[in-house]
Symmetry: D2
Subunit: 143 residues, 4 copies
Amino acid sequence: MSIFCWPARVYWEDTDGGGVVYYANYLKFLERARTEWLRSLGFSQRELARTAGIVFAVRSVKIDYRRPARLDDELCVTCEPRARGAASLSFAQRILKAAPAAAAAAEDLLAGAEVRIACLDARTFRPQPLPDMLLSALGAQED
Amino acid sequence: MSIFCWPARVYWEDTDGGGVVYYANYLKFLERARTEWLRSLGFSQRELARTAGIVFAVRSVKIDYRRPARLDDELCVTCEPRARGAASLSFAQRILKAAPAAAAAAEDLLAGAEVRIACLDARTFRPQPLPDMLLSALGAQED
Amino acid sequence: MSIFCWPARVYWEDTDGGGVVYYANYLKFLERARTEWLRSLGFSQRELARTAGIVFAVRSVKIDYRRPARLDDELCVTCEPRARGAASLSFAQRILKAAPAAAAAAEDLLAGAEVRIACLDARTFRPQPLPDMLLSALGAQED
Amino acid sequence: MSIFCWPARVYWEDTDGGGVVYYANYLKFLERARTEWLRSLGFSQRELARTAGIVFAVRSVKIDYRRPARLDDELCVTCEPRARGAASLSFAQRILKAAPAAAAAAEDLLAGAEVRIACLDARTFRPQPLPDMLLSALGAQED
């Protein structure tokens, strides 16, 4: 199974006065990749809220910043599901400077992260089991 | 009547790779000042949505950027109500580098803006007359 | 000549508590489109700063918000050069909900903007004539 | 020694379509508190770059999100220096909903974080020992 990787371009909005991407903005890239990974499985979060009554909330983030990204850089943001709880999902994510094919080169790793997500009832914000259709899609992906 | 002025400090989050505040982020400063101007009249937007069932939406912005704001700068953001429609309000706003007292010095004007706001039903997003209690507060301020 | 149009997807980062895209964030979409329009002519802003010693700064923005963009929406952001001064460029830009082909449908226009850009010396921040190679590229495009 | 605490108000810019503060934006609050903690010791980062030739870069963040912050909430963001290396500093930080005095109440803890910062040469971006004057100020604070 190949690793899911979502491209991102660095624009002015992402940089700060130090000339590099502002540290909080890497989390936006991570979220885009998780959203697109989910979409690649056939799920839109807006639809999940409407049809399954669930939303996802980030419970924790661990991120290591290795090298800075700069204006105009083309990034590749990976998203790999890891541990899975009844109402939660964990992801390993990386932000690479180069295209997926070059992912093996250590110098391309800009940041590495672990992100834990909780599945919540869209109205009460209480933990909710991951919907079956999502579990099925995840299971199919792992086979 | 003195001009309402809300202080803002420039942090890394506000700057971009050019070393100055990113052009979209001045609109955040403008919004903070409008929100605090409203609060100074006794209104919280969260409360207005809950009790009066209304929200405000920006209809248009005209902004002129004169001089850049930089990291650590202390700003003063003004908010002056101008024209008023049945379901809308217009504001003249300025972003100044110095304290309100120095507002007269032309070199302190970093940006000037005109912002038009619509009052909407919080559920249907349709135009809604400005609530009476807000009109009363505005009237009292003008006296 | 067809109109330059850059796609943008709405992510959580773009929305606010009102459930729609935060008004300042539309300016990020506009900037991405201008940057990509420039890239389509063969210019990267990082390169222009390094080789021609110039940067671009936004001088003014006029934006009308017509309809809100929401999470997951696919947008198309246009960029059309208009008036040109010795050291400045003006653009008409639109944010549409649908693909470029559908651009004629009025209901797809989410926002319209006029943006004026100044060309500055990258070190002194003083107005600088637009570089010849950029003028040539613009001229070629107009033919 | 009392714990340094910097106030923050939640504005529309901070929230997302879920009605709560967007997960990346808590990192902005953390950075403001670190910047103001440094300022409380007498240091501005702009001055440090100019006079000591150093900048700070975030190396890692671990953040646990406990409860969401919402529009209009008043937050208190703490900043406590912890481990110190030759060219790095670590901080424990918390985001609380209530005023510092109430910091003991568990229900007010919205997020807890550990942040590691590196001191870099402003030009080469290579690790640089923490400047003596900063070490002195830190030492004085600990006494």
